[in-house]
Symmetry: C2
Subunit: 87 residues, 2 copies
């Protein structure tokens, strides 16, 4: 199964919107317990990088973070404005 | 279906390894044709951000990029060294 198919599986159920979206998912295996997570810090810095390429309205970013004993996953969903895409 | 379940679906079929891994997937809808992609540039900058938190061996990074008429997806898979994790 290719990446595009996998993302379609992952996004199944989202409402279809006409506006362009950017979705970022970061997953880290948790092989050592108790290590502090750096994903929330990464989130902020990755958003700063993305802002170099596209205009990102802070209200248009939704963040989802989940963890269990084995893995932590950070997901950023960004709706890009139609009129002001830079790249 | 939660994020963790979705990533498990996405990763089904990968060999199970003991070493810690970081996986990043970036998907962009392609609502306007012909716009040059900034994902390959993003890839480089996001790797630089990640290097602030964890030691990343360039040989331990595998990159997969796919696109079709509707979407482009960039996937980075990073195997983290056991002994030299910073965060």
């Amino acid at each position: 199964m290719g990446l595009l198919d996998r993302f379609r599986v992952a996004r199944k159920g989202s409402a279809s919107v006409a506006r362009e979206r950017l979705q970022i998912m970061i997953a880290r295996d948790r092989s050592e317990r108790g290590r502090p997570s750096y994903l929330p810090k990464l989130e902020k810095e990755i958003l700063e990088v993305i802002r170099k390429y596209v205009e990102v309205d802070p209200d248009a970013v939704s963040v989802n973070y989940e963890q269990d004993a084995h893995q932590e996953v950070l997901e950023l969903n960004i709706v890009l404005p139609e009129s002001a895409q830079r790249a």
